[in-house]
Structures are given as structure tokens and as C-alpha cells.
């Protein structure tokens, strides 16, 4: 049995906005497309910025990395605001549950000493690293050219402050609802030798004038740090009786996988761009040359401190990751030649 509703049928004059019809034909467009494609102004800007008169208000030349048409790149996750906040609401809710569980079972207190050191003196201080990432990323959100690109950066910037808050909440909970651990974490971030390579890198990336140089440079550090802290140590934590560490790390691993989807797609779009591909590859190559050794050194210092606390082979893991990352970057740079 079923019933059939009749509706008044009116033939639409067009199925979507004109700029989408011109790109994709007159077909129904998704909300991602309608809310993203060709949204940013592209011409007839009235005034030059007082803070940078050499550029237009929106200008490809804010970066050496360019796309012939920024809308050839789209977010593989198709995030516009509504699905973005829905997905992050879920992430934070699920993290909140984890934190509640850890607190109710006193699992932070029951961490083996070495693991507690790693958590409090290395992981929680990274809330400042995340905060730095937010600043580097939001700079891209303002200065990137085209809504597809900047929208990913805007959400990523919001994500990074979200990550910073998530790590801070670990610190607050592990210190019994006080700010003691956060104060220690800030001291570690500012003073501990094991974190100074990272902090120096973050501060240097913050003052990069080319937004993409900052964002890509930061990504190189992420690609060394995230797999070490949240994937490799997650495995080690399970073997080492540090369940609390693993339960926290899984959320950051999950986030990083989601994050990689757009940034890998953007890098792929840059290196294969028909007009700017070669120049982009050379600009990316320059960033890698300048920042990858620094990133490896900074994360090795973190690994050294980890091994000092729990001796899980973190230094070797970083060495392997560095090789893998170098190989992956080589492959990326040679994409066009391989094709």
C-alpha cells in the first residue's frame, strides 16, 4: 500500500545560478556548489589596501602558488558551513564523551608515569602549536584566491583552535579541573628544549608573507608530528598500558585524516595546474628544501624526549617517517613528469 501526493508542477526557468550553468551545464547544483563556486569578487576593486598597496584586495599574487582557475579545485569533503559544523559538533561530542569516561574512571591518574609525562609535557603543550596553526591558516583564509580554497582554510583554522581547546581540556581534566597543567604546558612550550625547534618553526611560519608558504610549511611539520604523536604513540600506548593516551589520540588521528583530504587535493591541484604547474612545483620544492629539514629536526627533538620518558622507539619512527615523507613529496613533485 502506498499513497501518492499530487503536487503542482511548475517548470523552472533555470536549475541553478548562471555561473554554475556556465561551468557545469544547466543541471541541479549541490548546496556546496551554490555556496562556494564563484562567490569571491574577482574584478573592479575600488581601492588598494593601505596595508599592502602593491596588491588588489583579492589577488592571486599573495602567493607564489597559483591555480589557473581556483574553482578547478573543490573540497573533496564538499563542506559548506552547515555540514562542516555538523561534522565538528559530532567530533567534539564524541571527544567530550571520551573525556567524561577518562575522568570518571580516573584514567589520567592511572597512566604509567612515563606516559603521564608525555601527555602533560609534550602533548598538552601542543595546544600552543595548534593555536599557531590557526593563525597561519586563517591568514590563508583571508589571502587565498577563490572561495573553494579559502573555505577549506577557514574551516581548517577553526579546526585548529578546536584542537587547541581539545588538548587544553585534556590538561584541565588531568589536573583535576584546575589550570595547573596548562600553566606547566605553557612553560614547557616556551622553555623546554624538546619543544623549541617546533616553537621556532611556528613563529617563523607565522611571519611568512606568502600565505601558502606558511600553510605548506606548517603542513610539513604536521605530517611529521601527527603520525608520531597520534598514530605511532597510539599503538605504543595500547601495548604500554596507557589506554587514556590512546583514547585521546584517536580523535586527533581521525581529524588529521579528514584534514589531509582537502590539503592533499589542493597540493595535487597546484602541481598539476596547466598554467602554473611547473612554477608551483618549484615553489613547493623551495618550501620543502627550506622547511622539511627543520621540521624533521624539531620533531626528532620531541621524539628524543618521548624516548627519554617511555623508550618506545620514537626516534626510529621519526626517521622512518622522514624517509616516507621525503619519498611522498618527491612523488608529488614529479606528478606531471610521471603522468
Amino acid at each position: 500500500m502506498q499513497y501518492e501526493l499530487r503536487q503542482q508542477v511548475i517548470e523552472p526557468r533555470r536549475k541553478t545560478f548562471q555561473h554554475l550553468i556556465e561551468r557545469y551545464g544547466d543541471r541541479g547544483a549541490s548546496r556546496y556548489e551554490e555556496g562556494t563556486i564563484d562567490v569571491q569578487a574577482t574584478e573592479n576593486f575600488h581601492y588598494r589596501p593601505l596595508w599592502d598597496p602593491a596588491h588588489e584586495l583579492y589577488d592571486q599574487d599573495y602567493s607564489a602558488l597559483k591555480l589557473t582557475d581556483p574553482y578547478t579545485f573543490t573540497d573533496p569533503r564538499q563542506y559548506y558551513y552547515a555540514p562542516y559544523v555538523a561534522s565538528r559538533a559530532e567530533l567534539h561530542e564524541s571527544f567530550g564523551k571520551t573525556l567524561g569516561y577518562l575522568e570518571s574512571r580516573d584514567l589520567f591518574d592511572r597512566l604509567p608515569d612515563g606516559w603521564r609525562t608525555v601527555l602533560m609535557q609534550l602533548m598538552v603543550p601542543l595546544r600552543h602549536y595548534e593555536s599557531g596553526a590557526q593563525l597561519v591558516t586563517v591568514n590563508g583564509a583571508r589571502f587565498a584566491y577563490g572561495t573553494t580554497v579559502e573555505q577549506c582554510l577557514s574551516y581548517a583554522a577553526f579546526d585548529r583552535i578546536g584542537n587547541a581547546q581539545l588538548l587544553s581540556r585534556v590538561g584541565i581534566t588531568a589536573a583535576g579541573g584546575t589550570a595547573d597543567a596548562l600553566a606547566d604546558a605553557k612553560r614547557a612550550w616556551v622553555d623546554d628544549g624538546s619543544l623549541q625547534g617546533l616553537r621556532r618553526l611556528v613563529e617563523e611560519l607565522l611571519v611568512e608573507r606568502d600565505w601558502a608558504t606558511g600553510v605548506v610549511g606548517f603542513d610539513l611539520v604536521d605530517r611529521m608530528l601527527y603520525p608520531l604523536l597520534y598514530r605511532y604513540l597510539d599503538e605504543a600506548a595500547l601495548l604500554g598500558g596507557a589506554g587514556a593516551y590512546s583514547l585521546v589520540a584517536q580523535h586527533l588521528t581521525g581529524w588529521f585524516a579528514d584534514h589531509r583530504r582537502w590539503i592533499d587535493a589542493l597540493i595535487a591541484a597546484w602541481v598539476t595546474d596547466e598554467q602554473h604547474g611547473a612554477a608551483n612545483r618549484s615553489a613547493l620544492g623551495a618550501i620543502v628544501t627550506a622547511r622539511l629539514p627543520q621540521a624533521i629536526e624539531a620533531v626528532t627533538a620531541v621524539a628524543t624526549a618521548i624516548d627519554g620518558a617511555i623508550d618506545v622507539g620514537a626516534i626510529d619512527a621519526v626517521r622512518r617517517q622522514a624517509q616516507e615523507l621525503t619519498a611522498a613529496l618527491d612523488a608529488t613533485m614529479n606528478t606531471e613528469e610521471m603522468a
Binding site: 536549475k15 541553478t16 562567490v39 581601492y47 593601505l50 561530542e93 616556551v190
Partner: protein, 510 residues
């Protein structure tokens, strides 16, 4: 030293936002924040910034996701039920065409440039507040597009809003306004948009559209308006905190901020001229007159309330405000007559107000309508009765600052056009008012750069020398422009309603 007390809500918020900051040592503060010195604003202690709201990321995402779920449910239901057929009239959508072409791109600009503040202000408190506003503004951009997307399928004028915002003459009014703000320094932007646009003028700019929606059966836009309300109230408190913070930090900031209030009041007020025309003439079912809106939202709430509070800091009501007050009886009529005369080159239609509307206008504007403006409409009607339609032949002169055609009249004399000019580097520039001339004169090197639509047409940069070529370059399609009566929207509307009272029927099958 260990602080062993549990965190209060306020301390917790602070720990999760501003405490994420640290003092850099590998690079200097000047390198980190290179844009916060040149405007002359002095900030001695960024920690004195009072957070205007306290939403952590988890709470923000949860709350916003719930709001969006409700909003999109309304949009889907309205689309599925052909809800557009229940609007007061198809011509109501002219207001929403103006909104999508003129306002939505400003939401987007706000999104981008609050991102700039989220990077470039030295203080972590205001940076985080700006980050939240940046992403809110992206929400507004997208929800507005999605709200109006369904109308775009059935009506003209909505299809090319972003290209039009970059090209069409009357849209250079809002575009140049916002370009002016984002090309300024970070503190001026904060006062221009955070304070003047989002606080001082928001009830005049934004609310008339949303109230118009609710009076005219536009459920999606009305729902959007309500859904944006809690975001907007956060933005308003940010704007208010911004101005208080700047004024409290250093006495030397007061004259700088006063200059910006003076500039941005008049700059924003001139943008609201388009809203005035919309409110009095485009809505088939009236909400309130421009005059009434101006008296309530500006004279009473701002001059009578806000500026009384700001007196304490030595801030006075904006320069040229007396001209705006004196103009409240004239503004909408002068603007809409201009739109009527030039709507062959617009992406909306206009029409002579109906008899009932003329009576309403006469009632709302007893001192001016019958004397100055009704005779014009009578003439326009006589031309229509004779089988014609009045359009202005030729291109108007635009004000170099606000870019509105020079249609406003001398203060105190509604029959003489107001014209001002300045000479800069040997060239003459014209203005519609003392306010616009004053703004130009304090930064001539900025305003001479303006992309003036009429000049650009004469210079051959807009598709060609003829009207059809320019319209094609604007992206205007058949049926978007000109007279409403007999337009494509009007004919479709009549056809869709011809078989009424037909009711969609429900049949059951087994």
C-alpha cells in the same frame, strides 16, 4: 606557582582562548603584527579586552549545527511545496534581488576580512572573537544563497548576483563601501564594520529586508533572518566592545575613532539609501516607512541611547547627522525615482506605486509626498496610459564617494539638486552631499582610485558603447530589468495563479 582552584566558567573560557597565546621570542612582535601601528591607535594592554561572548568551539558547533538543521528543513519544505506561489506578489522579489546582489556579497567580504582580524590583531581575545565572526559571516553568505536559490529557479534577477556585484552600476554603492572598509587598517575596519555597520546601522540595513520577508510571505528569508539573529547579537556586542576598548586604551585614540565614526556613519548611511527605496516602494505589503524606521532605529536607539553612553568617552554624534535627519522625508522618494528611471539597466524591475501605495506614502510623508513626489508618479502614470514608459535617456553623474547618482537635494530645499566638488591634483571630483565631500577631502588619494561605473562605460570597459552591450556585460538577461508590469516575472505569476482557486489534491491508492 600552582593554582589549585578549579576553574570558573570565565577562567575556563579564558584558558581555552586567550591563554593559547604566548609571547614570541624567535620573531619580534612587530614582525608578527605588522599592520597595527600605522593607523596611530595605541593599545597599552590587550588583556583589557572583555570577551563579548563566551562560546567554545564545541558549544559553537553544536548550537550552530542545530540552527542550520532547522533552517534547511524550512527551505526544503518551502521548495517542495512550491511555497513561492504564496508570496504577496512576484514583485516583492525585487527586494530580495537587491538583497542577494547587494548584501550577500558584503557578508562574504565580512567573512574574509574578519579572518584578517583573526590573524592580524595583537590580542588573542579579539582575534578569537573575530575568528568566530568570520565563520558566522560565511554561514550568512551561504544560507542567504541557499535561501534564495529556489526563487532563482522561477524568477529573474537572481541568477548572476556575484558577477553583478562586481559590475553593475548601483551595486558599486555597497561594493565600494565594503572595499573601502577592507582596504583600511585593521582598527578602522573594526570601527567601520564591527561598530558602524554591525551595530550603528544594522537595524536600518538588515532588518527591513527580513521584516519585509515576514510581511510578504517569504518564509525562507524570514526564517533565515531569525536564524541569523543570535549570530548578529554576538556581532553587535563585539562591535560595542571594540569601540569601548579602543576609547579606553588611550585618550589619543578618541579623535581618531571620532573621525572614523563620522566617516562610517555617512558612508553606511548612504548605502542605506537603497534600503530606504526598497522599504517604501518595493514591498507590496508595507512594514513601516523609511522615516519611521530611521526615527526608531537611528534617532531613538542610536542618537538617544548609544551616543548618550559614548558621551562619557568624549564621543559626539556623527558629523552630518543633521543632514540625514532632515533627509528622512525625502530619501526613499529620490532614490526610488532614480531606480525607476534607470531600471532598464538594473537586475530588478520597478513600477509606479499603485493607488493604495500612493495613499500610504502620502500618509507616511505628509510634508513631502503629495507636494514633491506624487506629481512625478502622476506624470509617469500618464506616460504609461499613453502606451509608453518613462526611462531616463543617458547616464547619470555619480558621486565620487558613495557612487549614487547625484540625485539628492540641498539641505532645506527639496527642489534644488545638491552638488559639491573638490579639485585634487588638478582634477575635479563631484559629490552628492557635504558628507561625501568631507569623506573625500580627508583621503583624496584613496577615493580617486574608485571604479566609477559610468566613467568605465564611457571609457569602453563595460562590453561596448551601446546599452544592450553593457547589459550583456552586466549579465542581465531578458526579463530581469525594466518595468514590472508585463515583465516575465509578472506574466509567469499571472499564469501560475490563473487557475486559482485550484488546490493541490491528495489521492490515495491502495
Amino acid at each position: 606557582m600552582a593554582n589549585t582552584k578549579k576553574l570558573s566558567m570565565k577562567q575556563r573560557y579564558s584558558a581555552l582562548t586567550r591563554d593559547l597565546d604566548w609571547e614570541s621570542s624567535y620573531v619580534s612582535e612587530e614582525e608578527l603584527f605588522p599592520h597595527t601601528k600605522f593607523e596611530g591607535i595605541k593599545i597599552h594592554d590587550w588583556a583589557k579586552w572583555e570577551d563579548p561572548f563566551r562560546l567554545t568551539i564545541d558549544a559553537y558547533c553544536k548550537y550552530q549545527a542545530e540552527k542550520d538543521k532547522r533552517l534547511y528543513a524550512v527551505l526544503d519544505g518551502f521548495a517542495q511545496s512550491q511555497g513561492h506561489l504564496t508570496l504577496s506578489d512576484a514583485r516583492y522579489l525585487n527586494a530580495m534581488k537587491l538583497f542577494l546582489q547587494g548584501v550577500t556579497p558584503l557578508e562574504y567580504q565580512a567573512h574574509r576580512h574578519f579572518g584578517y582580524l583573526a590573524r592580524h590583531l595583537n590580542g588573542p581575545g579579539p582575534r578569537f572573537a573575530a575568528l568566530c565572526q568570520s565563520i558566522d559571516e560565511l554561514r550568512h553568505t551561504q544560507t542567504e544563497i541557499h535561501t534564495l536559490s529556489n526563487y532563482n529557479k522561477y524568477y529573474g534577477g537572481l541568477h548572476s548576483w556575484s558577477k553583478m556585484h562586481d559590475r553593475v552600476w548601483y551595486l558599486s554603492v555597497p561594493k565600494s563601501f565594503f572595499d573601502d572598509a577592507i582596504s583600511a587598517g585593521p582598527f578602522e575596519f573594526l570601527i567601520a564594520i564591527g561598530f558602524s555597520f554591525e551595530y550603528l546601522l544594522t537595524n536600518l540595513l538588515f532588518v527591513p529586508f527580513m521584516s519585509g520577508a515576514s510581511f510578504n510571505g517569504d518564509l525562507p528569508s524570514m526564517t533565515f533572518g531569525f536564524s541569523a539573529q543570535s549570530d548578529e547579537s554576538r556581532h553587535m556586542t563585539l562591535g560595542l566592545e571594540a569601540i569601548k576598548f579602543l576609547l579606553e586604551q588611550d585618550e589619543g585614540n578618541v579623535p581618531i575613532v571620532q573621525g572614523w565614526i563620522d566617516k562610517w556613519f555617512w558612508r553606511g548611511y548612504r548605502v542605506t539609501a537603497l534600503v530606504a527605496g526598497m522599504l517604501d516602494y518595493m514591498l507590496p505589503r508595507k512594514v513601516m516607512s523609511w522615516k519611521e524606521a530611521f526615527e526608531l532605529y537611528f534617532e531613538e536607539q542610536m542618537l538617544g541611547g548609544l551616543f548618550k553612553d559614548l558621551e562619557f568617552y568624549g564621543i559626539t554624534p556623527p558629523r552630518h547627522v543633521e543632514h540625514a535627519i532632515a533627509e528622512k522625508d525625502l530619501l526613499s522618494h529620490q532614490v526610488y525615482w532614480t531606480l525607476y528611471s534607470f531600471s532598464f539597466a538594473a537586475a530588478f524591475t520597478t513600477t509606479v506605486p499603485e493607488a493604495g501605495e500612493r495613499a500610504w506614502l502620502a500618509e507616511q510623508y505628509p510634508d513631502t509626498f503629495n507636494t514633491f513626489y506624487k506629481p512625478r508618479w502622476d506624470k509617469a502614470q500618464a506616460i504609461i496610459d499613453g502606451g509608453g514608459r518613462f526611462f531616463f535617456q543617458g547616464l547619470p553623474q555619480l558621486c565620487q564617494t558613495c557612487q549614487i547618482p547625484m540625485v539628492f537635494t540641498e539641505p532645506g530645499d527639496p527642489t534644488t539638486l545638491c552638488q559639491r566638488h573638490s579639485v585634487y591634483r588638478g582634477e575635479r571630483f563631484d559629490f552628492c552631499s557635504d558628507g561625501c565631500k568631507w569623506i573625500f577631502d580627508r583621503e583624496p588619494e584613496k577615493y580617486v582610485q574608485a571604479w566609477m561605473p559610468v566613467h568605465q562605460i564611457y571609457q569602453g570597459n563595460c562590453g561596448g558603447p551601446s546599452v544592450p552591450e553593457v547589459l550583456a556585460w552586466y549579465g542581465i538577461q531578458d526579463g530581469d530589468n525594466g518595468e514590472y508590469t508585463g515583465s516575465l516575472d509578472h506574466l509567469d505569476w499571472r499564469r501560475w495563479h490563473a487557475s486559482e482557486p485550484a488546490v493541490a489534491s491528495t489521492t490515495k491508492e491502495s
